[in-house]
Symmetry: C2
Subunit: 423 residues, 2 copies
């Protein structure tokens, strides 16, 4: 067992002043009980929990850590801008620099609207598409996560059905399902949302079928609707452009967030001129949307993305991790389902419908200093090295040996079971 006295003390205090002790995607209620909730430090590829335990971190803050925590060039750019001005009565010149830089990098984009949450970007995409088309219906893939606003949050507590009026579902990667959904909408289609690939929690990831992606584009062209790629999670992790450049399809709108300032708080809606009038017709804003510090950090991040081999390195290390884990798993009699892009791995176990093996694996990895997630896709980052991957593979060898020897006594996670039962 790793030391967790400070984490437990923090949780006890938090239980009084935070609903459920913690909330949102970083709450550990649906993780093994030994997972720490609080972190005191992060540097490069590593995080330290409140008790000082160090972990090689494959969650990367659920995405924002793209080039390594505490990147000195990026954070220096942020600190320099902070000394000049951050949240002011108007934006800094960095707003224009940043928008030009994004438009220069993302092929489909002619314009940018900067915001703060990924959900801001997806909500603006929906609203701009409706304003552009005058139509109401929004198609989203069943199970896809597009944020936590009432129209899209995956948990319906406190939501009224009217807030999701005109949101319809189709099956990701299934052109026939998409066609049927479009046909059912008739002449009221405003937009089709698509994740760059299927990265739903608890499931194998699936790369986009180019036939489906092209059909989505065609259907939007035929109906006048807007095609929206939600690149919040995957942006700049697959390609230095919108992720669907990889399948040769350009959306009208793309949603960005998480990592384009390497963890500094900024997100963005990017669009083509096909949806400029729609973007000009909506009103959306936030107290900190025009703050200069995250923009300065983003500009430096984008410079590094363009000039470094971060992408090729994370892909190479991801391939090494995937191949190595397959061998280690086989050694211990497990079959891993490793899906999605190697640099954004989802790792599930065959024959593990209630995730008890995955939870045991994650717990055993944590004990060995590696933070992996049992049901959410993970991320590699640009600060990781071959030595880190070797370390992870060595940990996996020990962890899977331990899981194998204890497999008869494993039990499923009670809260996860309650949640799955409710769905």
């Amino acid at each position: 067992m790793v030391a967790n006295v400070k984490d437990l003390a923090l949780r006890e205090r938090a239980a009084k002043v935070i609903p459920n002790g913690m909330y949102g995607h970083e709450a550990t209620h649906l993780l093994p009980a030994s997972f720490p909730q609080y972190f005191s430090r992060a540097k490069g590829a590593y995080i330290w929990d409140a008790d000082g335990n160090r972990y090689l971190d494959f969650m990367c803050a659920y995405g924002p850590n793209l080039l390594g925590y505490g990147d000195e060039l990026i954070d220096s750019a942020a600190v320099r801008q902070l000394a000049e001005g951050d949240t002011m009565t108007g934006p800094g010149p960095v707003l224009v620099d940043l928008c030009e830089k994004l438009v220069g990098m993302v092929s489909h984009a002619d314009w940018v609207m900067v915001c703060k949450n990924g959900t801001d970007a997806t909500t603006m995409a929906m609203t701009a598409a409706r304003a552009q088309t005058g139509m109401r219906r929004i198609l989203v893939a069943d199970g896809a996560y597009h944020g936590a606003a009432p129209w899209c949050t995956p948990m319906p507590g406190g939501i009224v059905p009217e807030e999701r009026a005109f949101i319809s579902k189709y099956k990701y990667n299934d052109a026939a399902s998409l066609e049927a959904a479009v046909a059912e909408v008739g002449d009221d289609l405003a937009a089709i949302f698509a994740s760059p690939f299927k990265h739903d929690a608890f499931e194998d990831q699936v790369l986009p079928d180019p036939t489906y992606a092209r059909r989505a584009r065609e259907l939007c062209d035929q109906t006048g609707a807007m095609l929206i790629v939600d690149d919040v999670r995957a942006g700049f992790r697959l390609v230095r452009d919108c992720s669907w450049e990889l399948v040769g399809v350009r959306p009208d709108l793309s949603c960005w967030g998480k990592s384009f300032a390497n963890g500094h708080p900024i997100s963005a809606l990017l669009g083509s001129d096909r949806c400029r009038a729609g973007a000009e017709a909506i009103y959306a804003t936030g107290s900190f949307w025009f703050s200069a510090v995250p923009m300065a950090a983003a500009i430096e991040t984008l410079r590094i993305l363009a000039e470094s081999d971060y992408l090729e390195r994370t892909i190479r290390l991801g391939e090494k991790l995937r191949a190595g884990l397959a061998i280690v798993a086989e050694r211990h009699g497990f079959t891993l389902r490793q899906t999605g892009p190697v640099q954004m791995p989802q790792i599930l176990f065959d024959g593990d419908p209630d995730f008890r093996i995955g939870f045991a694996w994650a717990e055993a990895m944590l004990e060995r200093g590696v933070y992996v997630h049992p049901w959410h896709n993970m991320f590699l980052n640009g600060a990781m090295t071959d030595a880190d991957i070797d370390f992870a593979l060595e940990a996996a060898d020990g962890a899977l040996s331990q899981v194998r020897s204890s497999i008869a006594s494993l039990e499923p996670h009670p809260m996860l079971m309650a949640l799955m039962g409710a769905h």
Copy 2:
């Protein structure tokens, strides 16, 4: 005329890569043409535009600047935290420290949910109230601003009416209107929203009538609904507590943002145990909600709020400004309507229905190095001094003299007229 070559060049570039050239509350489309859009620097009570012109800034970034731009203690706390970790795979211990500190300062609050936009906080308040009560209807005061999400944005572009289902209006400060609205809802009332005082754009501000505020509390107690005070704009500017402590009324939920980290990006929903179950039943989150840097900045800000006389000073300076402006205006034959708390002044002109005098005044003030707003409430901050107020009053004397001499040739702002015609 102030120099504006760089500002114009930035606008020209921005017109290509940003819809409308700029968007949101910091866009200058509805301000006099001479107002700069871009700012390069901010320090204390002053901002510098992209051309290097300096202004005493009464907008305070539309609220976030509470203690002065670039406060060294607060920014040092932020930079220290940045070196340790910001956006990580879990929150830092600073999350618990901050929530305890807020609960300790805000009398009605038992718990805190930190978020990023003011709109996040108001939307969570709505959702938590619905989850707590099982009811749907939300009452908001006609004309009040509660954010820019589809359910509340003041401009309806791209919004479908269904997204505002169950949002009903009442008249602020009018207990009878509130009673009638509650009666009409029947047994479906989830919440009553109230601004701490009426601070709608283009209008005189109005302080809350205690009878109305108490009636709102009683109606919530009788029906089981939640009372929500939206303190995003005014929080900690009127009192070191929820603003409605001044009228002796405690809400179940209060929304905070803008200034409690002195411009670092963080907002929060605070609640009492009466709404804890509702808060525990909703799902809301964001990529950067658990970032540690703005929390460290907030903790230092709250320490200064508790230990300094910032509040008494901004009130004293606000009184000096209001009294001085009234004298200066009278000297030049104008009657000012200076309304709301002196530290959050709204300044409108009698006999100026299309704001042409207000716009001319703001423009003339800008030329003299003072940034005032012709139709939005303003803010004093803790870095302002008697000398700053003297400077503003001297500028006002010159500005109003100039407006008086040019009054026959003033014209209303064309875009403002188009907007007002549309309403």
